[in-house]
């Protein structure tokens, strides 16, 4: 057992300096690969994750490379999956579990909320749960209510859980590695709509792949994107847009479409959130629009809005705007009426610029 439990030899970060063009799926796959290669404590499992390599192919080839016991299929029991991962984490492994769609994470909720999030605290730091839960989330794929939801705020509300959402291949891999190396449970919601290309909400236009995109040029070796650090996705001076996941690209499109020089902050981590970057940007622009796909009521936007109000109130020139999914279940036929696309973000930007509704 000792070999499995040995921690990886200290290796220099960003090992080789080599990069390759990757979409988000390939980048996540590479992140798993790098970590499984260097750390025998890392293993991954989930529904269809093993032989098949996952329904989105994130674990493609890993069973072949690392064997049946390090990348394997799991029974369709999300609660069991989460519980098994917790047990492994407590033992000292670093399991990465895949919940096939975020819409199916609810059976795992009790294990994640009552257990993973609280074991360190309730044991006085004696037991810890260094697990990663990966799950594709979000809309824009005509998946109806069971393949489109954005449940992040159900997790950000939980003390003891970290929640991360990447918006591009580079961050996806770097955040995944940081999450695996983190000693606490981390939930990564992966915006599946942008797995293959940076969708900006203009569904009427042709899809663009990641090919050639600067953020799709990904180091092949080990590197991390630290948890808790936002990225300025577009610099601007007129208004701050706080976004994550697919909505980062929608926000950029809205800025371009309206000609309003918005500063788009890609949060990357929701918990812990990078309050310094948010505060600096809003104090600079004096205006703030928050965009997410999830329904409005008690969405993460509510938390962001409160934070901005508490910390930047005297710098605000206009009420904070929220652009979100509606307070309805996710529809099928009305996908594009539901999805908060660039037109709606653009309207909010205009309202923020003129200071009212």
């Amino acid at each position: 057992m000792t070999d499995v439990m040995t921690k990886p030899a200290a290796q220099a970060s960003a090992t080789s300096g080599q990069t390759a063009g990757m979409n988000m799926i390939q980048a996540l796959n590479s992140g798993l690969d790098v970590m499984m290669e260097r750390d025998p404590r890392v293993l991954t499992f989930g529904e269809d994750v093993g032989y098949f390599g996952g329904v989105f192919r994130v674990s493609d080839g890993l069973q072949k490379k690392y064997g049946l016991t390090r990348c394997f299929d799991a029974p369709i029991a999300e609660g069991g999956l989460a519980a098994a991962a917790i047990g492994m984490g407590v033992y000292g492994l670093r399991p990465v579990l895949e919940i096939q769609f975020a819409d199916y994470i609810y059976p795992a909720y009790d294990q994640l909320v009552s257990e993973a999030a609280k074991i360190r605290y309730r044991s006085g730091g004696e037991f810890t749960v260094p697990i990663v839960v990966r799950s594709p989330y979000g809309g824009g794929i005509f998946g109806g209510q069971t393949h489109s939801q954005s449940p992040e705020s159900l997790f950000t509300h939980i003390a003891g859980l970290k929640t991360v959402i990447p918006s591009n291949p580079y961050d996806a891999k770097g955040l995944l590695i940081a999450a695996i190396e983190d000693d606490d449970p981390v939930v990564i919601f992966e915006p599946k709509r942008i797995y293959n290309g940076p969708f900006d909400g203009h569904h009427e236009r042709a899809v663009t792949p990641w090919t050639g995109h600067p953020l799709a040029e990904v180091p092949t070796g080990h590197y991390t994107v630290p948890l808790g650090k936002a990225r300025i996705a577009r610099e601007g001076s007129d208004c701050t847009i706080l976004a994550y996941g697919t909505m980062v690209w929608v926000a950029i499109a809205a800025a371009e479409d309206t000609g309003i020089d918005a500063e788009v902050i890609d949060l990357r981590s929701l918990v812990p959130v990078d309050i310094e970057t948010i505060e600096a940007s809003v104090k600079k622009t004096g205006r703030c629009v928050i965009a997410h796909e999830a329904p409005r009521t008690s969405g993460f936007g509510a938390e962001l809005s409160a934070l901005v109000q508490e910390r930047c109130f005297y710098h605000l020139e206009a009420p904070i705007e929220r652009v979100t999914g509606w307070d309805t279940p996710y529809p099928h036929a009305h996908e594009w009426d539901y999805f908060p696309g660039p037109a709606r973000v653009g309207e909010a930007l205009k309202r923020a610029m003129t200071g009212g509704r």
């Binding site: 529904e47 093993g50 369709i76 999300e78 099928h332 036929a333 009305h334």
Partner: protein
């Protein structure tokens, strides 16, 4: 302390993968007619042997054998066969429609038609079915309008559920068909609750629920069995073991060392294990459980052993994880061919009649498609956008009213 053998992690793997020859040599099938048939009112434990056997009626020559032979009349047999043919034709047409971009998604039940089609003929319309996405045969057998199914699949303006759900997630109270959930397993224990309510009311109705082999791993499956046993709920708990859950073989769901039917034993439920490709066996076993439930003796768990001949869904490619021709080697064959052979052996069916039935089914589906596509396929025609905000609650609150205004509908 040192173990005599060092521990190692067991991960089940199927016998064959792409490139391998299909191998069902480990499947031992008993002779049609061999399994005993206890009376439907026996104590649960008297059925437990059947959890490890396989109730079969049709033999390889198409003859009906043994105590489970339901002795259906020729008209009923023909109705069943035609319903299965229609279901398969419908599936093929809608699968193609998805490929042609007319909708976002589709799921076939190829090879499993006997289950829903025979069961629809046993259950009464007043009973409530809690199906999975692979029981379209229930609606088709009951004569639900095919064009209406297509309207749902196309999410068009005439979609009875108003464009809210993914294709194939039908709902029809009138046809005793509960709204399908995309979340696996959730409806299984709900069916038990429905049955408990019927018992509470002193009603005559029973419930029926379906679950796949894969989804039996969910806690909801076990909740259903517990509640069904504890409250002796009048419900038929159907378990469709088609051996695959997307790319995972049934061993991953816990089917490596035991049968799925056997899971019912520990809960004290009567359990039957049935050849799911044998229309007569499906009919007879369902009838048995139906009589039992209606005699106030509670629930039965029935495993139907079958094979998922098609892709999991239009998003799947099974050639990536199992031998492409595996179904052709599946020893329990094709339910349509087997019932046709039976009718032929009885002297009431011929190749010509079969061809005619297929032609009729194709015409029927074509006519329905014409009707539905005249309204529109996905995106060409949609229910009014205001439907997006309806039915969240009985009465929308201020948030929904405001949001609807923002959309301008």
């Amino acid at each position: 302390m040192k173990n005599t053998v060092s521990l190692s992690l067991h991960v089940p793997a199927p016998k064959c993968r792409p490139g391998d020859a299909a191998d069902f040599s480990s499947v031992t099938l008993e002779e049609a007619g061999a399994a005993p048939r206890p009376e439907p009112n026996v104590p649960a434990k008297d059925t437990h042997e059947l959890a490890y056997r396989l109730i079969r009626v049709l033999d390889d020559q198409g003859q009906a054998q043994g105590p489970w032979n339901p002795r259906l009349d020729i008209d009923t047999l023909k109705r069943g066969l035609k319903a299965m043919i229609l279901t398969r034709v419908f599936d093929e047409r809608m699968y193609r429609a998805q490929r042609q971009g007319k909708t976002s998604f589709y799921m076939k039940c190829t090879g499993e038609e006997a289950i829903a089609c025979a069961q629809a003929m046993v259950l009464s319309r007043e009973d409530m079915c809690f199906p999975t996405y692979r029981q379209q045969g229930l609606l088709i057998t009951r004569g639900y309008p095919l064009a209406m199914m297509m309207n749902q699949i196309y999410s068009n303006a005439a979609d009875p559920i108003k464009g809210r759900q993914l294709p194939i997630m039908y709902s029809s109270k009138e046809f005793g068909f509960f709204t399908i959930s995309g979340n696996l397993g959730t409806q299984y224990p709900q069916a038990v609750g429905w049955a408990m309510a019927s018992a509470y009311k002193g009603d005559d109705k029973i419930a029926a629920a379906w679950i796949g082999d894969g989804a039996t791993a969910e806690g909801d499956f076990h909740n259903a069995l517990t509640f069904a046993a504890v409250y002796r709920a009048p419900v038929i708990l159907n378990l469709v073991n088609n051996q695959w859950a997307i790319s995972s073989f049934m061993g991953i769901a816990g089917g490596e060392e035991t049968t799925f039917a056997a899971k019912g034993i520990a809960y004290g439920l009567p359990t039957l294990r049935v050849d799911g490709n044998d229309f007569l066996a499906v009919h007879a076993a369902t009838q048995w459980a139906y009589e039992r439930a209606r005699s106030n003796l509670g629930a039965t768990l029935i495993e139907f052993y079958t094979y998922r001949a098609a892709q999991h869904s239009t998003s799947d490619d099974p050639a990536r994880y199992r031998p492409a021709d595996e179904w052709e080697h599946w020893p329990l064959g094709d339910p349509i061919k087997r019932l046709a052979l039976h009718l032929t052996a009885l002297g009431h069916w011929s190749e010509a009649e079969h061809a005619e039935a297929e032609k009729e089914a194709i015409e029927q589906v074509k006519a329905a498609a014409k009707e539905s596509e005249a309204i529109g396929t996905l995106g060409q025609s949609t229910p009014s956008t205001k439907e997006m905000f309806e039915d969240v609650f009985k009465e929308p609150d201020w948030r929904l009213r405001e949001q609807r205004q923002e959309v301008g509908v």
